[in-house]
């Protein structure tokens, strides 16, 4: 083999231009979030009342908001909170969801209990449940992560459980059992390695949902406190000026669309790559 599997993998995935474009956009957004203090032209919280609600121009590329704060800088800093919360939600729901999904799928005695809880949670509309949880827990970034993790973990449990149910019956798992391989190793090696790809695909989708949901929660006032710049809080505080100063809500809105759409497209690309049936046709 000339190339490592990873290189071949990405080469094949990026053969689709849309996936490649989405990946580039996503990388740029994430990179900007990481190095925000160096790339943002202004402090996101520095108030200049004289320059309030200025349209996009030379000094403020994307205009200013009702307090004269630079919108571009706030979008860049907002990416930190928005993507940070999204990423935290992905991390928590993946970890917890994979664990419970494996257990429910492998140990049939646990399945009934776990799946009834999952069904009950999934029966409630996502955003309503999240609003309820934040209302109960209190509005903070941590509680938003907690609430959204509770909302999205059941999805992961479903995906992992379904794959585990298939895998546990496969001969290579039977072979491991016949060899006396420990159940822990069967779960952590034979099953986990093979559910990794559907879980990874699910992760990108949950990332997108979480970014959207965070914006929705903040917009509704049930998210992070309004003084923290996130894409959601920017739209929420700017909405009353939207008819006279469209840029106040348009650009944060575009940031949300761009980030969520890119995540979805990358997720789609990953799924097509990881699904052996689709891979052959690519």
């Amino acid at each position: 083999m000339v190339h490592s599997p990873a290189i071949l993998f990405f080469r094949r995935m990026f053969r689709r231009k849309l996936v490649f474009a989405a990946f580039v956009i996503l990388s740029v957004i994430m990179l900007m979030a990481l190095v925000a203090p160096w790339v943002a032209p202004y402090e996101p919280t520095s108030i200049k009342i004289i320059r309030r609600l200025r349209p996009p121009g030379e000094l403020n590329w994307l205009g200013t908001d009702e307090f004269g704060r630079d919108i571009l800088s706030r979008i860049i800093y907002g990416a930190r909170a928005s993507l940070g919360i999204g990423f935290a939600v992905v991390l928590v729901s993946m970890t917890v969801g994979t664990l419970f999904g494996l257990l429910a799928g492998y140990f049939r005695s646990l399945d009934g209990l776990v799946m009834r809880v999952v069904d009950a949670t999934m029966a409630l509309p996502d955003i309503l449940l999240a609003i309820f949880l934040v209302a109960v827990l209190g509005a903070s970034a941590f509680n938003v992560v907690l609430a959204l993790s509770i909302v999205y973990t059941p999805r992961v449990i479903r995906v992992v459980r379904a794959s585990t149910l298939v895998l546990r019956e496969l001969p290579f798992v039977e072979a491991a059992r016949a060899l006396g391989v420990s159940t822990r190793r069967i779960l952590s090696v034979h099953i986990l390695l093979n559910v990794a790809s559907p879980v990874l695909v699910q992760a990108t989708f949950i990332f997108a949902y979480a970014v959207l949901a965070e914006a929705g929660l903040s917009f509704l006032g049930a998210g992070v406190p309004p003084e923290v710049p996130t894409w959601g809080t920017m739209i929420a505080s700017g909405q009353q000026y939207a008819d006279s100063a469209f840029w106040v809500v348009l650009f944060p809105g575009l940031a949300i669309v761009l980030a969520a759409l890119s995540l979805q497209v990358v997720g789609d690309g990953l799924r097509d790559m990881l699904d052996p049936k689709l891979r052959k046709t690519l």
Binding site: A178, G180, N194
Partner: protein, 325 residues
């Protein structure tokens, strides 16, 4: 059999599901296998062959009956007390694609067997994996490859190497060649013959192909709807079948000689549902010689000669066609 059997199965029964939808997959099956002996298990699909193999290895739990391995009944032991079985009985699977974890290298697939029983570690581990690969006709350098880099036959060899890693006394081979190309089948059969000689392996050889079974096995058990219809030496079964089902199977298996007289097809229809097996003799619905008695009385296994036994009220040993139904 003179020697104490390595494996003795008595009254083995497996029902799936709950009342009223019980699937009677295996019903009161008894046989034994002496050390180094190969017993063939033949039957149509749905006859419970694979279920028996999995029951013996405790991959699934039996409903009733005893499974004595080296004299100890392992049918009810908890998993942590099964070390002896796990070390001494292994399985070779039908599907060479599904039986190897696609995400693991061959080194890990075979090494796992060594790790599970702490048979070799460090440099010795790699050495042993190389030895095993060479034993099954592959090369030691193959250990750093992934399963998808091999052909079906090669994968089956890897599966065999994995089974041999713990130096078992018994191997359950579940249709080990039926998923392979005909040209490769012969190679794998030859390999298994060699290994059997070399390591004195006993085998439960599960197949629906009577020719392969005749070639591989010392004795054959014919299974129908989870019950043993006839059991005896390979010669008894292939040359002197006593049960009408065995005779039908033999007649149905294709012969290499185009001039051989064509025997009319004796078996029609499908195997009945194991959820609602026929009363009396389970084969009576497809038996050309069935009578009223067959519907009432379950035929017991009875001796023909030596170890040759069959479960039929009538003796169809003679060459003439059984009385027309």
């Amino acid at each position: 059999m003179s020697a104490a059997p390595l494996l003795a199965v008595e009254g083995l029964t497996k029902h799936f599901g709950r009342t009223p939808h019980i699937v009677r997959a295996v019903e009161d099956v008894s046989f034994d296998i002496a050390p180094g002996e190969v017993l063939g298990l033949v039957g149509e699909s749905g006859s419970g062959k694979s279920t028996i193999g999995r029951l013996i290895l405790r991959l699934i739990d039996s409903t009733a009956g005893a499974i004595r391995f080296d004299g100890q009944d392992i049918s009810r032991l908890p998993e942590r007390q099964l070390k002896v079985l796990r070390r001494n009985a292994q399985m070779i699977f039908q599907d060479p694609y599904a039986s190897l974890n696609p995400r693991l290298r061959v080194r890990e697939i075979i090494g796992e067997a060594l790790d599970a029983h702490r048979l070799a570690s460090g440099a010795r581990r790699n050495e042993r994996i190389g030895e095993l690969l060479e034993t099954v006709g592959l090369q030691a350098t193959h250990m750093s490859r992934f399963p998808h880099e091999f052909s079906g036959g090669q994968r089956q060899r890897i599966g065999i190497a994995r089974a041999l890693a713990v130096e078992p006394k018994l191997i359950v081979a579940d249709e080990p060649v039926s998923a392979l190309d005909v040209s490769v089948q012969a190679q794998v059969i030859n390999l298994m013959q060699d290994l059997r000689q070399r390591f004195g392996l006993a085998m439960l050889f599960i197949s629906h192909d009577l020719d392969v079974v005749e070639l591989m096995c010392d004795r054959i058990a014919v299974l129908y709807l989870g019950r043993v219809m006839e059991i005896g030496s390979s010669d008894d079964i292939s040359q002197r079948p006593r049960h009408p089902y065995t005779r039908a199977l033999l007649a149905a298996s294709p012969k290499a000689d185009p001039d051989a007289p064509k025997i009319r097809r004796m078996l029609t229809g499908d195997i009945p549902s194991p959820m609602a097996p026929p009363s009396g003799c389970v084969f009576r619905t497809r038996c050309p010689a069935a009578t009223d008695e067959c519907a009432r009385v379950v035929p017991k296994l009875r001796s023909a000669s030596g170890g040759h036994r069959f479960a039929c009220h009538y003796d169809t040993a003679h060459d003439e066609e059984p009385a027309a139904a």
